[in-house]
């Protein structure tokens, strides 16, 4: 089912949570809504579900205007951050709930067969008789997913699905959700504040800030061509240095960078730690090492440039560096954005 949001607006009392968001989600696509807290991502998800009504704009499911269809009739599967499993029902009863209240009548055997099938799908066969407080967090999340899938939803919506789980479980579940999505091909929209999760799982990432879409694209798109300092910053660690643009070149502590599309004036240069290297000799940005942090996959050097700005670089494990060393930061890749670094 294709979903289309057309200029959707939502205001809570005086807080404008969502300010005119338009978005097309293709049938069978897996899309992540990524943003910091307060960016409106959960509100958008809840409006698609019908748990909140939009103040303005329209939401289409296929060709049908679903804006005013109540959640009960909208045919969405919603997975809550804290699972929202019914604590007084067994796992099997939880999964069966949607089928029992459905207008489509099923016999007991049909329901039982479907529950068994779903529990097999989420790899929880044999746990049907347990209660939610007798299983682990990861298992609960899988029950929540099975329960949402039981009503054959047109769309699957997940609100921070792995937010309450620890890191290892999270990584496993992510891959597993991707597999389920490929198996079922159901249009899926999920919300996360974790950029790694979004990039790992989604076909397309929609980055939000303050109720507006900042950038939408494939993970490759948004990683390679971030369109703003916000996206650059939000997707991963980045150094920010002040620079001056003149004649299509950004001057940065002795290094010149291409900045063709910029007018003359102050600019910010963003550099990923991994796109930098340390060298005892020039060319490069002159800097002094303040600290070296050793990690399993390399070393991180913390340095201070001649201009007094902090910079961090991730270098190969065999790189020689000690606090107090003077040398040069070599820049392999950088992105220039207009405006001064102080903003």
């Amino acid at each position: 089912m294709k979903i289309r949001l057309d200029n959707v607006v939502k205001t809570f009392e005086t807080f404008r949570a969502v300010r005119g968001v338009s978005l097309d989600i293709e049938s069978g696509e897996l899309v992540a809504l990524l943003g910091p807290s307060g960016s409106g991502k959960t509100t958008i998800l809840r409006m698609v579900a019908g748990l909140e009504y939009a103040d303005g704009g329209h939401i289409f499911f296929g060709e049908q205007d679903a804006t005013d269809i109540p959640v009960r009739d909208r045919g969405v599967g919603f997975v809550f951050q804290h699972y929202a499993l019914f604590p007084h029902m067994t796992v099997a009863e939880n999964v069966a709930f949607g089928m029992k209240v459905s207008k489509v009548k099923r016999t007991k055997d049909e329901v039982a067969a479907r529950v068994a099938e779903l529990l097999r799908l989420v790899k929880l066969d044999g746990l049907g008789n347990r209660f939610p407080n007798q299983i682990s967090g990861g298992q609960r999340q899988r029950v929540a997913l099975a329960r949402a899938l039981a009503v054959d939803p047109k769309v699957l919506l997940l609100d921070e699905p792995f937010g309450a789980l620890d890191a290892n479980v999270r990584r496993d579940l992510r891959r597993w959700l991707r597999e389920i999505h490929e198996e079922l091909g159901i249009t899926t929209l999920f919300v996360t504040h974790d950029q790694e999760e979004a990039l790992d799982l989604a076909d397309r990432v929609v980055i939000l800030d303050q109720g507006e879409i900042v950038q939408a694209g494939t993970p490759e798109d948004v990683c390679r061509n971030p369109n703003s300092a916000f996206v650059m910053n939000f997707l991963g660690d980045a150094n920010r240095l002040g620079a001056t643009v003149a004649n299509g070149k950004a001057e940065l502590g002795g290094v010149e960078l291409e900045a063709q599309s910029f007018g003359d004036g102050p600019a910010s240069v963003y550099l990923r730690p991994r796109d930098l290297d340390w060298s005892a000799s020039g060319p490069g940005i002159a800097a002094t090492v303040t600290r070296v942090i050793d990690r399993p996959d390399g070393r991180r050097i913390l340095a201070r440039t001649a201009a007094g700005e902090q910079i961090e670089l991730d270098v190969a494990p065999e790189t020689m560096a000690r606090a107090g060393d003077q040398g040069f930061v070599r820049v392999h890749r950088a992105r220039v954005f207009a405006g001064s670094a102080s903003q």
């Binding site: 910091p36 807290s37 579900a49 019908g50 748990l51 959640v71 009960r72 009739d73 909208r74 969405v76 599967g77 919603f78 809550f80 951050q81 804290h82 929202a84 499993l85 019914f86 604590p87 007084h88 709930f97 949607g98 209240v101 459905s102 207008k103 329960r147 949402a148 039981a150 009503v151 921070e160 937010g163 309450a164 620890d166 504040h193 974790d194 950029q195 790694e196 910053n233 939000f234 997707l235 991963g236 660690d237 980045a238 150094n239 920010r240 730690p273 902090q310 910079i311 961090e312």
Partner: protein
């Protein structure tokens, strides 16, 4: 680790002297203030012999008072239960203007003297009151009759159920109801198969407390009932009447019935608390999400 036992330093305010003094003081005061009077009631009830006791209990006026008390409870408790559930549901599941105000309104009967409530009803439904003449003309008797007694009892016990449910339902949040609705359940279905099972012990606890208070209510009821022996006397009013008639043993006998009701209530309350109702067993809120891992500017 050495296995040698060693004197542990006292925790805060925990020196043996303080501990013993406090425990002793509480035990003594509790015994004198609460336990002794209750024992006296049971003792006095049978002081003039089992004959007087049974005579009092089987006296038509006493039986009528018991009957009236039970009828009042049978009407007031279900209505207040429905009100309490509705109020708790409205306050915890909806956002609307005046939510806080509603909470305050519900609590008013806790802080106001029941006799004030009784007098207020007198002014509203009495012959000199607002609706009194109209009701009188229509032949409806509110004051000095069952409706007045029920209304006064309901006023006094209005907060009991709501007060038990609101904190619990607030802690549980709206996720479960939202989940049920998104799965296609109707409002009633959601309430009966999702909400109610999760609040049942707290609800029962509130009902038990409400019932105990309805049966024991004196002040408000004494104003509106008119104290007509054999007609509008509830059990607490009847006890007072017997006492003023110098039928001490009879008063204590009637009082012992209320006391037994109270003991049943307490036992029910303890059993319910074991099931997680009441303040002791409130479920903790769901674990907070871990801090957001995200890119940062260096």
């Amino acid at each position: 680790m050495s296995a040698v036992p060693r004197r542990k330093p006292p925790r805060v305010g925990d020196t043996p002297a303080v501990r013993r003094t406090l425990i002793a003081a509480v035990l003594v005061v509790g015994a004198l203030l609460i336990l002794a009077p209750l024992l006296v009631i049971l003792f006095q009830a049978f002081s003039a012999g089992v004959g007087v006791f049974t005579a009092t209990i089987t006296n038509p006026d006493t039986r009528h008072a018991i009957w009236l008390t039970v009828v009042t409870a049978l009407i007031a408790v279900p209505i207040n239960t429905a009100f309490g559930i509705a109020a708790a549901w409205a306050i915890t599941k909806f956002d609307f203007r005046g939510r806080r105000f509603l909470i305050v309104v519900i609590e008013i009967p806790f802080s106001i003297s029941p006799i004030v409530a009784g007098v207020a009803y007198l002014f509203v439904y009495g012959l000199q009151g607002l609706f009194g003449p109209a009701l009188d003309a229509a032949g409806v008797k509110v004051l000095f009759a069952l409706p007045g007694i029920v209304l006064a009892s309901m006023f006094v016990t209005a907060p009991f159920v709501a007060r038990e449910l609101i904190p619990l339902m607030q802690a549980q949040g709206r996720d479960l109801e939202e989940a049920a609705t998104s799965l296609g359940a109707s409002g009633w279905r959601t309430f009966f198969s999702v909400t109610l099972p999760n609040i049942r012990w707290a609800l029962l606890y509130g009902v038990v407390l409400c019932n105990a208070r309805v049966m024991g209510e004196f002040g408000a009821v004494s104003v509106v009932s008119g104290n007509i022996r054999g007609q509008t006397n509830t059990l607490p009013l009847h006890i007072e009447l017997l006492y003023h008639d110098y039928q001490t043993a009879g008063a204590f006998a009637a009082a012992s019935i209320l006391t037994v009701l109270a003991i049943v209530t307490i036992v029910a309350k303890v059993l319910l608390e074991r099931q997680g109702a009441g303040r002791a067993g409130r479920p903790a809120l769901a674990a907070p999400a871990p801090a957001a891992p995200q890119g940062r500017t260096l």
